[in-house]
Symmetry: C2
């Protein structure tokens, strides 16, 4: 018996931060998480499998899905659409399973509109940790270089604002362990457990 809905975890972050690598490592290990496979209009590459790597759609099919509001989020890159099927995510959560999305930051903000209760994890480049050291050991860099780095850093920090957690991707294994901790601890949140127990009592007393 499972009357409890699953939790939606969203891993996102600046492009190039290593989201794909971290996600693969998480799914290499035993996990109860369900990974939501994306849809795309880009052509299948050699070795890729429909329904494993992506769901491959034509441009017309994809645009119809957009019109029908069947996508939780979507975006275009290099003239191709990429998106997350809404039904799969909703049905899997409803069945009590956690769902894991690994998506770009624009997509994550779209998901937040439908699922504000999702757990949003921002994967952060280690460069800011390094920046900290660079800044504190001043004087060795030109002013312009330092200012540029600060500007970039500020942009990345502002992206954090809508997320629940920030994981610095300095070592992949460490980042994976932190994300697993977040998943486990979210299941221990009081509101979640209290609701389950209160439901047991109510079911008995009514």
């Amino acid at each position: 018996m499972n009357d409890e809905k699953g939790i939606l975890f969203i891993l996102s972050g600046p492009s190039g931060v290593g989201k794909g690598t971290v996600r693969k490592k998480i799914f290499e290990q035993a996990t109860d998480l369900k990974y939501s496979i994306s849809m795309t209009t880009r052509s299948k590459r050699p070795g890729e499998i429909d329904g494993v790597d992506y769901f491959y759609k034509t441009r017309e099919e994809f645009e119809k899905l957009i019109e029908q509001n069947k996508l939780l989020e979507y975006a275009q890159y290099v003239n191709n659409y990429y998106g997350t099927p809404r039904d799969y995510v909703e049905d899997t959560l409803e069945a009590g399973h956690d769902v894991f999305l690994e998506i770009e930051v624009q997509g994550a903000m779209q998901v937040k509109e439908s699922f504000p209760e999702g757990v949003f994890i921002f994967l952060f480049p280690p460069s800011l940790e390094e920046l900290k050291n660079r800044i504190t050991s001043r004087g060795t860099e030109s002013n312009e270089l330092v200012l540029n780095r600060l500007k970039e850093a500020r942009k990345e920090i502002e992206m954090m604002d809508s997320y629940d957690y920030v994981v610095v991707n300095d070592h992949v294994d460490l980042a994976v362990a932190k994300i697993q901790s977040i998943i486990q601890s979210e299941h221990c949140k009081r509101e979640r457990i209290e609701k389950q127990y209160k439901k047991i009592l109510e079911d008995e007393l009514t």
Copy 2:
């Protein structure tokens, strides 16, 4: 360099739930947590060491500490005082270390007044998980027995209300792993990390 304050973790729960066992297991393993040793007016038992098991105080000393607001929380059990020294907790957090308290529920509520930002973990007896099974396999127990269990269960569930996390103590090792996940994930909370990074930027720009 560490400009960041530590996090205060409070482990509490109904008496007899196994808080002490779980806490000892946590500190048996490598950990950066600092355990706050309690003060007591009860006499030292053979084998106990002052400053390791407890700080032993006379009744007069203890009451003076209460008057001076030097205790973060205190309570009386069997005619003896037990309490948590405020200075140790505040100084250790200020120095950037996490502090771990294992205390009774009344004490936890006192700590919450001084440290609403603390992370409050409620250790929960496995009996309610069992209750779930008992209730769902109805008919085999007398009505009165079931109603008594429900009443007790309701009381325990209401105690949860002020806590951030609930950990069911069905297996000690599992409960310990969950608490360790909570500790690790709390360090990944966005507000905490964002503040650190924003501080780095501000320090540079002013």
